[in-house]
Symmetry: C2
Subunit: 183 residues, 2 copies
DNA sequence: GTCTATAATTCGATAGAC
DNA sequence: GTCTATCGAATTATAGAC
């Protein structure tokens, strides 16, 4: 069965996300991605130019954060942690980004954008130092993603989602709303 | 000036730590490590056998955690965060381990040992579910290391150490001593 | 649009002279 | 112990036939 160019392109993007998520940037090869998409390595190059651009296309991502200012403050932490966990589990892109960001500067820059810009915008109105609070939230949520999904480190990798939310929600809520302890 | 075998071996180990920390496992090459150590790639192979064993030797690490049971509970969080930050800054090994663990299974296994066994032992006596608490502490401290030293993500990468301690100490203290919220 | 063939590098690892 | 030379495999990327 013959596919159209767009279908092939979509299949390549999907395979690329899986490979980058599973193997990281350098170990995910154009060849293996092409094989997963049942196409030819040369086609991958034709469609996306080079490996960097393929990654950029595959790792396009939006957190789709809810508007935090409409939530009651005592639900803020739980809502955010639950949202992060679902976002991580329903899509390979975050894992691909984290695995690649550790060794690839373009991926690291995208992570910075996502976890400062997008988060800081959502935290606007909660405090005047939204960037500081956003980066604190990033340190806990990315650390959770790292331990739970990438390193599979300890009970936090096995716990039910509700248990993780119960443990982390007060942390996130404090980072977003508590008075600055350094002031 | 001619070095002894042990001096060369030590120079290789030091260069390997730096390269693995800066580039991650696959991008740190035997050749670049040998060049940094002002020696020959073949000597690296002779001394350490292969790349995996070189990494294992270079990434030998101990957290040197203080005995947590002797500390007053309200100093626990601050002491641990401060200890982690110092441990991270005085040595390249933690950064090498984190960068490598994302794509190398042997490095990931060592991370699991360090951040479950070593931490759980130190947390013994604080609670009966020490492994759960240790992995929660790992999720926040590794997330901090990732954002502050690897990704350089946001204000958390620029803040003074004391400010980081002030923000994170209550989190770590709660993970170690608060009653289980899921019980 | 698709694929074959291959160029140009780069890597880990080995053999062997000194 | 040290280094030169090189092998064999793998990679990204390109050229060009169909």
């Amino acid at each position: 069965m013959r596919r159209s160019g767009d279908q092939t392109k979509a299949a390549i993007l999907s395979a690329a996300r899986e490979r980058f998520a599973a193997d990281g940037y350098e170990r995910a090869t154009i060849r293996s991605i092409a094989a997963d998409a049942a196409t030819d390595p040369a086609l991958v190059m034709r469609h996306f130019g080079n490996k960097e651009k393929l990654f950029a296309a595959a790792a396009d991502f939006d957190l789709h954060l809810p508007d935090l200012s409409t939530l009651p403050r005592d639900k803020l932490g739980a809502a955010l942690v639950d949202h992060f966990l679902r976002r991580w589990e329903e899509d390979d892109t975050l894992q691909a980004l984290l695995r690649a960001a550790v060794t690839n500067e373009a991926a690291a820059e995208r992570m910075r954008q996502i976890f400062t810009s997008q988060l800081a915008v959502a935290a606007k109105g909660l405090a005047d130092d939204a960037e500081v609070r956003a980066s604190l939230v990033a340190s806990q949520t990315l650390g959770l993603g790292l331990c739970r999904y990438v390193l599979k480190l300890g009970p936090v990798a096995e716990m039910r989602r509700a248990a993780v939310v119960a443990w982390l929600a007060p942390t996130i809520e404090r980072y977003l709303t508590a008075p600055d302890p350094t002031a």
